[in-house]
Symmetry: C2
Subunit: 325 residues, 2 copies
């Protein structure tokens, strides 16, 4: 029973007899022996590890993490475990050199990128990754920018869903809170979907009813206040995230407006808090479980040299009191 035979047996090579393998496995168990991951990776140049890089624009409290992405973590780790991969995790601020750190040092076979943040500033880094032939997937807008492999929700469809629902309950003047520029492609897509729904119903989207906001309660509050101050009437709000929606609800409440009577409101993400606001918040739920699975699956296909295309996940409208007329 030489060392290579043990190596072959434990990795399930077919060139070792069943009897020998059983024997080796028994002895390994007795000795509490496990294969040294470092030696194995060094020799085979495969780490069986994926790196999860989480980046955001710097926040005041640097230890805060967007809860939306955290909720994806469960299915990602689970999927990694099922596929026999470890997960290396790192929460980076955008300015770091995450784009070289992981692949070159042979820590991982591929990278999963999660994060909102200014899309333009990290586009160059993505291109660098492509150049180095680093395997990666990212979560984000699925509209084709040609860089790498993307998995994301059908944001345009989701925007249409939200718009259709608001129109269905009789709303005509629908405001949108969220950055609609190409700095935030996902928010932009949601706005696009809303506009499509409105046009399909014969309504004209009013640019004056769109206000930029990043995904935070404060930003949503500020955006809603600005919208109210502008004086332009509206009877519904589609917020690009639940946090924005919650901030907006606070502003509307302070302004003495009743929801949903005066203003119906829809959020995005279905964070746990959405069921606890008053009124409870109608929102668009993303398939986080499927997201993790598709991300890992797409990345592993890419690592194995199999064809892997963009994947789009459907969303689901969760109707609650904030649109219950």
């Amino acid at each position: 029973m030489s060392q290579p035979t043990v190596s072959r047996a434990l990795r399930g090579s077919k060139s070792v007899s069943a009897a020998t393998r059983a024997n080796i496995e028994r002895i390994a168990r007795e000795l509490n022996y496990t294969v040294d991951k470092n030696a194995s990776s060094l020799r085979s140049q495969r780490t069986h590890t994926l790196a999860l890089l989480f980046f955001e624009d710097p926040t005041p409290d640097e230890s805060m993490i967007n809860p939306f992405f955290l909720s994806m973590l469960g299915s990602i780790t689970r999927q990694c475990a099922l596929r026999g991969y470890d997960l290396l995790i790192s929460f980076q601020q955008m300015h770091n050199d995450w784009h070289v750190a992981y692949q070159d040092s042979h820590r991982s076979d591929g990278i999963i990128l999660l994060g909102y943040g200014d899309y333009q500033t990290y586009r160059a880094k993505l291109e660098h990754l492509v150049e180095m032939d680093t395997k990666f997937v990212r979560w984000g807008s699925v509209s084709d920018d040609g860089i790498g492999l993307t998995v994301g929700s059908d944001n345009v469809g989701a925007g249409r869903q939200a718009g259709d629902h608001l129109i269905e309950i009789g709303r005509r003047s629908i405001a949108f809170l969220g950055d609609a520029s190409d700095h935030a492609p996902e928010f932009q897509d949601r706005y696009t979907g809303l506009c499509e729904a409105m046009r399909a119903a014969g309504l004209a989207p009013d640019p004056a009813l769109q206000r930029d906001a990043v995904s935070s309660e404060e930003s949503g509050y500020a955006a809603a206040r600005a919208l109210l101050a502008a004086g332009k009437p509206f009877d519904a709000i589609f917020a690009a995230s639940d946090l924005i929606a919650i901030g907006a609800m606070r502003a509307l409440g302070e302004a003495g407006l009743h929801m949903p009577r005066d203003v119906a409101i829809i959020g995005f993400d279905d964070i746990p808090a959405a069921g606890l606001t008053s009124p409870t918040l109608t929102t668009v739920m993303q398939d986080m479980k499927g997201a993790g699975e598709l991300l890992v699956d797409a990345l592993l296909r890419r690592i194995d040299g199999q064809p892997a295309e963009r994947r789009v996940l459907p969303t689901r409208l969760i109707e609650r009191q904030s649109t219950a007329v």
Copy 2:
């Protein structure tokens, strides 16, 4: 410039001259060269990686993760980064053999254990870890059970804080929702603190006003219903977690009770949703940021063979409407 010199230079050894080091670093940058982590770990037997093992009792939806621990993730990853360590992550169900998987295969230098769950069932595994001389820290009750190194909130003190506050606003019959058995040492500690506060104020804790509950809204709802059904009067509730508290609030609301007039209520954890309930929920906040830092710090000390003792973190009472008389 031999290979060992490069190795020495890049790791900051003092036995290489400043000029040579600068030169080597420049060339490394030009060539996009980084040290191979696997080879380095293999040779030095140090991975510079910590493993985060997250375990829970199996839940219906296996991809769900306790948001409380997720919020610790930020400061843990950050602290790891600051100390030059990678973080390997794994969410395990209790029944797996996590207690052997990581250390033996040389994936990490040490383990951080997070998780609620039945304490008794994993006690044996902890002892196994100690036997194997595996370096680990865990988050939990700091009451001394002698197994390994623990970092945790001052749960007894927190219970006293909550009790004192409720007594201060004139409550005399304080119920406790949360498992008070030694299956959940942290909840037990919180109950102990509450009882201490009551006794200090000349009140006698009534065992009939304690109801078991695990940390979920459903469980809190059920516990509060049971409490109401028992008919024993009470004017305050201290819930062992915010989720329990939120469930209890739903039960109280359905019973037509007004909070805080009829029943004041305090939760635990200060999850984001606590500020969104109506009434907003008074709660005990744990120092999650400090927690991550202390966990990592304690583990690294242990790995380096330095003395490392148990660490206790203070908590802070966040007063909101649910106790505002």
